[in-house]
Amino acid sequence: MNENPAALIPELTLVAGAVLGLLLGSWLPRRRQWWVRVVTACACLAGIVATGAAMAGEPQKVFGDSYAIDTATNAGRLIVLVAVLLVICLSSEEIGAHPRETEFHVLMQLGALGTIMLAGASDVLLLVAAYLLASIPLYALAGFAKDASGTEASLKYYLMGAFLGIALLGGTTILYGSGGATNYAALARNLPTAPPPVVGIALVAVLGGLLFKIGAVPAHFWVPDVTEGAATSVAAFVTTVPKIGGLIAAYRLLVDSIPAVSLNWPLLVAILAAASMTLGNLAAFFQDNVRRLLAYSTISQVGYILMAIAVAGKSALALPGTLFYLGAYAVTNLGAFAVVAAVPRTTRLEDYRGLGRAHPMLAGGLVVCLLGLVGTPPTSVFLGKLEVFTAAIDGDFVWLAVLAVLNTVASLFYYLRWILPVFSPASESTKVMVLKGRWAAATAYLAAAASLLLGMAGGAVLPLTAGPLVP
């Protein structure tokens, strides 16, 4: 049994960062808490370096085959850590000098750690542990602002999470009962002899938990409320980071443990994908609040990525498509949130009138990110969509690809509803157009540039996402 702790350096740095941050935060005076931010950023950077080293190494399974370190995990680590760095930057003004700044950073690191573990878990019990670690800190974060809307968001988030967490645990129990093991590889050996209806129920329950994490239909009800109610930085984090781990976990679970079972899970996932993208888009149509609009847009984006999960194992493009799309989505979505954070007093679409005049750079960044979310070339989401659509058609889900195309067109409508006022002449109430955050604005530029660059340099990045899962 491989129990090499050195294989877990990215995870361990996050743990160390969280513990050190907590200790530091307890002793530091209130106005010096920015040290915790530095510690968090250092932990992320160290994690990124360690991940780079791990990418060069051989894929392996560690700790009783319960944790896989392969292309998917490494990509997940990289995306999560970069996303956390971006959130640290965009939260600088909102969270900086906040009395509980330390808590924010510690909770965020723990949540990120849980997400990375979700991506790597190849044992259902570890999946449950990772789920809890990725969820509980976020419930607290959602109520970080301690105001009415934040508390409501937090409570709603917690109730949904607790309910679907129980479902996940129940599914795990049934899987263990019918398969006689919790390890994916062992499950793959044993499940074919188990009664299919039982396995089906277990799979639905386990998927339920993961759907909650990624905010997909039908476990999406918390997304708009948390995105609107929580602080902007928290909203950016919870709509981006947990999806990374949740989707990779779903991919790994379906490919590694369920493949030989006579269940039509590809169809189930395809239907979930179709429902997510369609409902997310339809609900986003007439949203007037930018955060709610972004919330529904993330629901629809998850639908596109689920397309690739539906053909997991059938198309060679499914895994690269999922991973690349996740990276592209993380950067682009955080870019859009960074713009929201940079002009914090604008909440409605109408408030963005005149942004193009007042802050042309910021407006440019917003347009790149929004058109990126639509999937306009040459941004990175376009390349992600190209991979995902190709994978879907390759896996004989042509109807799903056609539906996704129609959805893309529909989504254009509401993204344009946001872009249009940006270039309209300003109304009288332009006082809200105060650029509050230099850091947040810089994050927006950086994310927009990264989104473009990732799309154009896709040739260099895509090979990193190709590579089989460790069996």
């Binding site: 070339p377 270039f423 896709g458 040739g459």
Partner: protein, 501 residues
């Protein structure tokens, strides 16, 4: 060389973006004209030095995203070189025309430079994804032109334009993915796909791919029944925007037929060519008849675009009707189609720029409100007259050369369709003569516009300098077309060979 031509405007845009807006209009406009002029000269040099033997010139193939089968593959042949040249010329004309532009000049110039790169890029792309990238970006660029500098219900028209053409572009993407998956090894390279002919004998699958690509291109072209976005977009766009939209962007659709649909899906194209011919003929007649009913000058020109693009669709459709025609006729039809693209680009752009004069002076395009304009503005009347005659296909103009070749090439294989399409010329002749008669002759009558004087100022220098070369070139092509046809003909022969497989 091609990369330089394509990206020069974009580089210039980046440089100009660094100039603060407070520097005034001058540096932007001068820089814009300078860059477009240099680009046009480069294209002319490239034309002179190109090899016109029917193959690709200036080909360049760089790995871009190898794991997704995408490459930066560019090149020009007889089908694309004339369009590249026309594009460079039209952008130069628009730059000169916009000398008097005062409203948010910096963004306007940057946007047009961006659009120029995108348009030139599309005609040189030899990779489906590269083609698609440019195709989509052209929509984004034009959206901002219409929404930002249009008039009337500009926002609404821009949104309609974006949604419509974006639907088309995504259908196109699905078709491209279908081609990609069919090819072994998977690739988006147009040349490789044309050689491999991956969809030969793949019945329904090939038909679906052609349908997806066909819808995408038909929306952009636009043909009936996908043309409804066109009139509002044209009517509400600024004059230079309309000129680029009609002159360059519409060609992206028809160019796609000869570059992608025909050579990559030859068997399926021949199978469904009859339907294409029908759509082409309907577009010709419907476009002409609706144009006849218009009160709005710009709207009328927009509908004549539907009519003129219909000829192109007819020609490419007739080429696919294999029985009843020989290789020479088919080749003639394709040559006519490409000539028509160039000719329509020149003439319609000129017409739209002239239409802008109406709006500039009096704030309306309503033809019923004008009469006797030839009195105060003889130059304007003359230029519009020449453009109108060129547009209706009078001998001596490029339109005649194009339509003559199209009809001659199509007659044998699509006899009834061609006979019906010829009626389109008659209708356009009627409508243009009626316009000239109503607007320019008779007693002087002008619509009242707040702030405008009593007279109707004749063409300004910048308007003359931008419009006349376009018309002059239309005449040159009409009188001595050899220099153009010699470039197109070998490429159409190659294309016919590919479709014949």
């Amino acid at each position: 060389m091609l990369t330089l031509i394509v990206f020069l405007p974009l580089v210039a845009a980046v440089v100009l973006a660094a100039v603060p807006e407070s520097a005034g209009r001058r540096p932007f406009l001068v820089g814009w004209i300078g860059i477009t002029a240099i680009d046009a000269v480069l294209v002319v040099l490239a034309w002179i030095a190109s090899d016109t033997g029917g193959g690709m010139s200036y080909e360049q193939n760089v790995r871009w995203i190898p794991s997704a089968g995408v490459a930066y593959h560019v090149g020009v042949d007889g089908l694309s070189l004339p369009l590249v040249a026309m594009t460079a010329l039209l952008f130069l004309a628009c730059a000169v025309y916009s000398l008097r532009q005062t409203h948010r000049v910096k963004s306007f110039v940057l946007l047009f430079l961006f659009l120029q790169t995108v348009s030139l890029g599309l005609f040189t792309a030899l990779d489906l994804i590269l083609f698609f990238v440019y195709f989509d970006l052209s929509i984004v660029g034009m959206y901002f032109v219409i929404a930002g500098w249009g008039h009337g219900q500009a926002k609404r028209s821009a949104l309609t334009f974006f949604l419509y053409t974006f639907v088309g572009s995504l259908a196109l993407l699905l078709g491209f993915i279908g081609l990609y998956l069919a090819a072994e090894p998977h690739t988006f390279d147009i040349i490789a796909l044309a050689t491999a002919n991956p969809l030969a004998g793949r019945g329904a699958y090939a038909a679906l791919v052609l349908l997806a690509i066909g819808i995408g291109l038909a929306v952009k072209t636009p043909t009936v029944p996908f043309h409804t976005w066109l009139p509002p977009a044209h009517t509400d766009a600024p004059a230079a925007g309309s000129a680029i939209l009609a002159g360059v962007l519409l060609k992206m659709g028809t160019y796609g037929f000869v570059r992608i649909a025909m050579p990559l899906l030859p068997e399926t194209w021949r199978q469904y060519a009859g339907a294409v011919v029908v759509i082409g003929v309907v577009s010709v007649l419907y476009g002409a008849l609706v144009a006849l009913a218009q009160q709005d000058f710009k709207r009328m020109v927009a509908y004549t675009s539907v009519n003129h693009m219909g000829y192109v669709v007819l020609a490419v459709g007739a080429t696919g009707l294999w029985a009843g025609s020989d290789a020479q006729a088919r080749s003639l039809a394709v040559t006519g189609a490409v000539t028509q693209m160039v000719s329509h680009g020149l003439i319609t752009a000129a017409l739209f720029l002239l239409a802008g004069v109406f709006y500039d002076r009096r704030g309306t395009y309503d033809m019923g409100a004008y009469s006797g304009v030839a009195g105060p503005a003889p130059l304007f009347a003359a230029a519009t007259g020449v453009a109108a005659f060129a547009s209706l296909g009078l001998p001596g103009f490029s339109g005649f050369i194009a339509e003559f070749q199209i009809f001659t090439g199509s007659l044998a294989s699509a006899t009834i369709g061609t006979a019906l399409a010829v009626l389109g010329i008659l209708i356009t002749a009627g409508l243009f003569l009626r316009v000239l008669h109503r607007v320019f002759l008779g007693t002087l009558r002008l619509p009242d516009a707040p702030g405008a004087g009593r007279d109707f100022a004749d063409l300004h220098r910048s308007e003359v300098v931008s419009v006349l070369p376009l018309l002059a070139l239309a005449v040159v092509i009409g009188v001595v077309p050899r220099f153009l046809l010699e470039v197109i003909e070998p490429a159409s022969a190659t294309l016919i060979g590919l479709v014949g497989r």
